[in-house]
């Protein structure tokens, strides 16, 4: 399965560029590259619904981030204990990766999933044949309350964003 590794290396390179580049707009473009790479990775991993959804979400978040960063820049500063903090952060991240790698012994190897819960779902879905897309069947039949909760979270976010940013946007419009 070499394609997914190539895509992951591309995503890691784009993420490093997004993290380290000084210009904010270039950084936003970098995370856009990570998101498009993720969409292609979903397609390679046989998840077409997720690929479509990720593409739409990526474009929307890119527009929002560009709206936030346009004409606003920040010079890079190295005051404080910059070297000490950076080195200690990197050491702890390396420790995290080492322990995570050791814990991989406890989960199944890549490409051989132990499908147990989905088997129950699938046997029900196959008998009724309500929807050919199994992911949509699970979303609409077994996780319907969860989807309703997701919709209410979206409404709550819209109300929250309006409450936070209403005055700021009105001032923008007056300019």
């Amino acid at each position: 399965m070499i394609e997914i590794n190539i895509l992951l290396v591309f995503m890691i390179a784009a993420a490093l560029i997004a993290v380290q580049v000084k210009d904010l707009l270039s950084s936003v473009i970098g995370i856009g590259a990570v998101g498009i790479g993720l969409s292609m990775a979903f397609l390679v991993m046989k998840a077409p619904d997720l690929a479509i959804m990720q593409l739409v979400v990526e474009i929307l978040s890119l527009i929002i981030l560009i709206r936030a960063t346009i004409r606003k820049d920040l010079p890079f500063s190295t005051s404080g204990r910059w070297a000490f903090n950076t080195i200690s952060t990197i050491i702890f991240l390396i420790l995290f990766l080492v322990f995570a790698y050791l814990s991989f012994a406890n989960i199944h190897t890549f490409g051989n999933p132990a499908i147990k819960t989905s088997q129950e779902y699938l046997s029900h879905v196959q008998g009724k044949a309500a929807n050919l897309n199994i992911v949509e069947s699970i979303m609409l039949r077994y996780r319907a309350v969860d989807t309703l909760g997701e919709a209410s979270v979206l409404f709550a976010v819209v109300i929250g964003v309006l409450a936070i940013a209403r005055r700021a946007w009105r001032r923008d419009g007056a300019e």
Binding site: L8, V9, M11, I12, A15, A18, V19, V28, I31, V34, L38, A41, F42, M45, K46, A47, P48, L50, M53, V57, I64, L65, R67, A68, K72, L74, S77, T89, I90, L93, F96, L97, A100, Y101, F104, I107, T109, F110, G111, N112, P113, I115, S118, Y121, L122, L132, N133, I134, V135, R143, T147, E150, V153, L154, V157, V161, I164, A165, A168, R171
Partner: protein, 112 residues
């Protein structure tokens, strides 16, 4: 196994960015990278080698498709991630309006 590890490397790049950068937009970008890595890890857990997409067909069985349950979970998580990013950007724009900077070390005036 190397695939899981590369996914976790992507997660740690996002964590480094969120912990170590001072610009609020960079912190939001780090949180976004972490979220991408976690969504991808869900899908990698459910992948079956030479498996098909989870769409019903006549000869479709549980042994030749990828696991559909992590995909249904990640579908919700992607949309919630967009909502979180919208909220964070609104807060960042508000902070910029009030303090004139994105630098978190300069935002120390609690009231005025």
């Amino acid at each position: 196994m190397i695939t899981y590890f590369l996914c976790l490397v992507l997660f740690s790049i996002g964590l480094f960015c969120a912990v170590r950068k001072r610009n609020i937009i960079k912190i939001i970008i780090g949180i976004g990278i972490m979220e991408y890595a976690v969504n991808l890890f869900f899908i990698l857990i459910g992948y079956r080698a030479q498996g098909r997409s989870p769409i019903l067909a006549r000869d479709q069985a549980i042994t030749n498709i990828v696991d559909p349950l992590p995909q249904a979970v990640a579908l919700t998580a992607i949309v919630i991630g967009l909502a979180v990013m919208l909220m964070l950007v609104a807060l960042a724009i508000r902070i910029y309006e009030r303090y004139g900077t994105f630098d978190i070390t300069k935002i120390n005036r609690l009231k005025e």
